[in-house]
Amino acid sequence: MSHNPNQKICLIGLGQVYESIAADLHAYASPDTHWLFRPIGHVGLLESCADSVLSSIPQGVSLFVAVDGIALNYARMEIFVPAQERGLPMVNLIHKGACCSPDIQLGCNVWVGPGAVIDYQAEIGDNVMINPMARIDPQARIGNHGWIGRGASVGSCASLGSNCIIGDDVHIKAYTSIGKQCAIAQPGPWSQNITDGTFAEKSIWAPSRVIGEGYTFNTSCHAEESA
């Protein structure tokens, strides 16, 4: 919970995270915090309205971008990235019912929902949404633009690359390594190390993976094979 008196926060976005924060403002900041709201009508409008929304925010106001996890959180990036490029100040919103160890590292635009626990020396990147009742164990690392579902857990020393979605009630075991842009949405324990772009969820045959440039090869990679 932020205790900065007279703080001004602008909440931008749509979806459940946005609604949840808007419905419980006092749990995220002191009562004298001044809130502004910039609801977005539809996810398809995010990109086209990013400029106008960001331009409408008065100076001295900090932002929080809340858009649910569509397409590995890229929808939220439509606002987050331009805001970051403009150097606009962004806050973290930690629910008063969440429990965070004082020595954790948080990026910016991080949401920690009610009942979530972040244990000692955990590292959370920018633009990460940690849903209610989720648990981040000691020294776990979560890359930028992540999404940790309701009741999910990330075990001690486990690491998640950027743009990862961990679904509701998924439990990443200690020391597991998950690449970037992965989605694990099969509730239950997960202990397999997986490479970039791997999807494991009920509705997609597991494991599915992204193939192509940046995932299974790099065009900049020079062959070790010499003439």
């Binding site: 045959w205 599915s208 299974t216």
Partner: protein
């Protein structure tokens, strides 16, 4: 009309062995997509007709080899996808782009091959043909002329659609308990759609069954006029699916955004384009008489540079729908396979299934090692 195929064609391992030899090792088989191999030393491995195959980008040229080191028959590449030079992990042999052995560590002290043996050792190379962004491989020593398997018109259409592939794809596979032929029969048999997919695929056809029937019914010809070239076909139908708003702005698209395009690539690939933005490629890879590996590759669509990364991620929700429809098909086909027995009567096809009868005749010709094309393609009417 009775099907020319009996239950043994779906149950017998002997028939399966014949299929491997006379169909999958003889015909041009879809092997992969070019964007998965778009850099030097990018590779993919898979099996075709029971043979381990390696597709490798050698300085821009895609080549196909039997994925076996001639020394101890170790696979040269062991991952399904990756990027590495052709170097056997077992004893470090390396290979030239033509498959010949390049270097052998400690060759002089440990191997002592004579010159003739040394020269004869190489990875077996197979014929490769690119059709747009689709890669085909033929395992036969004397590959069938490509035009004998696919008409030039068909080739043109597949090439055109596949040129819209973007730089990424989602790839997955799954083993299922049914014969691979049930899957292509299922593709041709449009009449299952309202019953097997009542809430998923069927509502996407705005005209209902009548529209499906009009657009997806092939014109039945007598079996005598159907040839191998006819078994690959294209068709399209209006779809009641709205693409994501942002996709319309950011992405290129093939054809019209309200249509479902279908390219069946005989023997075992169903390549579709949904709303112009996604291109699911389903391959029914036979593993045994009663087991099929379903290989699904869903390429992204070509994008503006700014959107490359974004679109790779966006593939995930797009394929969710695809998997749901397939799972419905697989439940039905596994039930059919389970109930098959050798003494069961042959299938009794209705009028609308006449193409299946014709296809079965061509299949049987192929199985017997006979030429399945009798007439030059230009003199023939379109089957579909």
């Amino acid at each position: 009309m009775k099907s020319p195929l009996s239950p043994k064609h779906y149950l017998s391992e002997e028939i399966f062995a014949l299929e491997q030899k006379n169909i999958f090792q003889k015909l041009w088989i879809f092997a992969g997509i070019k964007p998965a191999l778009a850099a030097h030393n990018a590779f993919m491995t898979r099996e075709i007709g029971g043979v381990p195959v390696l597709l490798q980008n050698c300085s821009g040229k895609i080549r196909a080899f039997e994925n076996l080191c001639p020394h101890r028959l170790m696979p040269v590449q062991t991952e399904e996808f990756g990027q590495a030079p052709m170097r056997c992990v077992y004893h470090g042999w390396t290979f030239n782009p033509d498959g010949t052995v390049r270097t052998i560590p400690t060759e002089k002290t440990l191997y002592n091959y004579d010159a003739e043996t040394r020269q004869s050792m190489c990875m077996k190379q197979f014929a490769v043909r690119e059709l747009g962004n689709m890669i085909f491989v033929c395992l036969d020593k004397h590959p069938l002329p490509f035009d004998d398997q696919f008409t030039p018109e068909f080739q043109e259409k597949v090439a055109e659609a596949s040129m819209f592939f973007g730089p990424h794809a989602i790839h997955s596979s799954r083993f299922l308990d049914f014969n691979w032929k049930l899957m292509y029969e299922n593709v041709v048999d449009y009449n299952h759609i309202p019953f097997v997919h009542p809430r998923s695929l069927f509502p996407a056809f705005p005209g209902g069954l009548r529209e499906v029937e009009c657009k997806l019914t092939p014109v039945p010809y007598g079996p005598e006029s159907v040839e191998l070239r006819d078994l690959s076909f294209t068709r399209n139908i209006e779809l009641n699916v709205i693409p994501y708003h942002w996709m319309k702005q950011a992405l290129k698209h093939y054809g019209k955004t309200n249509r479902y395009y279908n390219f069946y690539i005989y023997p075992n690939v169903n390549f579709t384009c949904v709303t112009g933005f996604t291109f699911p490629i389903h391959q029914y890879h036979p593993v045994s008489a009663q087991t099929t590996q379903i290989r699904v590759t869903v390429p992204s669509v070509a994008v503006n540079d700014d959107y490359v990364q974004k679109h790779a991620a966006s593939l995930r929700p797009l394929v969710l729908y695809e998997y749901r429809v397939m799972d419905e098909d697989f439940d039905a086909l596994e039930s059919i396979q389970k109930s098959l027995r050798l003494d069961a009567p042959p299938v009794e096809h209705g009028h609308y299934e006449a193409p299946l009868v014709s296809m079965a005749h061509v299949y049987k010709s192929l199985l017997n090692g006979e030429s399945a094309n009798e007439k030059p393609s230009r003199q023939r009417k379109s089957f579909w």
